[in-house]
Symmetry: C2
Subunit: 198 residues, 2 copies
């Protein structure tokens, strides 16, 4: 019987031997890498999606509503309910992207944007981060500007419904659950921003 490796062995990143670009697909570039294990020298090839960073936004009005968006998603071929979000464009930082995507997708602007945590969407084959912002004091003072493939309906809901909609399976996007997890853990440990919630 092979026993699991419970050692204090320290893993090392695999050495990059070769990288081959396979194409640019607008929202990611596909590459194949050949790498050698630092532990035992074996070689393996991996596929990699080279992706811009992403952001998403828990956007709240001062009267305690959360901004949700319904949209058509090509991956699952379904209408989804999500929080606003998108890609960080070249030359932007994550907060600028959050400010822009919030206005483009909802027409709302925030008084304050707070970074509440980031995740790796899938470290197995994506190389990017997704940062969640809490947007406070949101007001409909901007202009929507949808991407050509976007078709969005804005829904305002009491912010307590955020958890309930996930419990009910009406929100299914993993990155929205990660954002919800940042929010709940932040509240639980008394993060600085928790006192600012409406």
């Amino acid at each position: 019987m092979k026993t699991p490796d419970m050692s204090e062995r320290r893993l090392e990143p695999w050495e990059l031997l070769e990288r081959r670009e396979l194409g640019d697909f607008r929202i990611f570039r596909l590459a194949e890498t050949r790498r050698r294990s630092a532990a035992d020298g074996r070689e393996h090839s991996f596929y990699l999606l080279d992706t811009p960073d992403w952001i998403n936004i828990i956007a709240l009005t001062s009267s305690g509503e959360i901004l949700l968006i319904e949209q058509y998603r090509n991956g699952t071929d379904q209408i989804t309910l999500e929080i606003p979000g998108g890609m960080v464009d070249a030359g932007e930082d994550a907060e600028e992207a959050a400010r822009r995507e919030l206005e483009e997708e909802t027409g709302y602007r925030a008084e304050q944007l707070i970074d509440i945590g980031w995740v790796e969407p899938n470290p197995a084959f994506l190389n990017n981060r997704c940062t969640t912002f809490l947007a406070l004091g949101c007001r409909p003072e901007g202009e929507t500007n949808f991407d050509p493939a976007e078709d969005i309906v804005l829904k305002l809901r009491p912010m307590e419904d955020f958890t309930r909609l996930i419990d009910a399976g009406e929100i299914r996007h993993a990155l929205v659950l990660a954002a919800h997890d940042h929010l709940q853990r932040g509240i639980a440990v008394g993060a600085e921003w928790a006192d600012l919630l409406p």
Copy 2:
């Protein structure tokens, strides 16, 4: 000023006009679809990763430890700390995949596996689900069987550390945060399985 669409307009999936297969990359197949908006007839092309379903596992021993795995991840080119998980193979259901991956990656077998929720990893361009299982009564009675590209070190930690390791940024995988969110929301609403936790 364009105002956001706050109507009760019902979104419809976009009609599929054409689908072109661009290649098989082992962990996904890449395709391009051309679709027409049901709302206004405009056409757009989308890239799609056709992916098997995934599972991950919150695996606990009866003495209240959680099984975590350290491994090298090609996407981020980093060593990550995660819960066990993987792809559902052809002919398997999600629970069979969870049982198999748990044993292959850790050498542990569970007395009981409970489905505690699923997410869409990214409905924008992935078409799959990731289901989280709670594995109870785990014991080191199986055999590890790593994939050729896997290099895994098992870490047992007190289960209370699961939240703390996410808070500390030592766990960053979005699907692990989604799993943590399923666990915490289930405990909060008194899910049937919550009484079975060690």
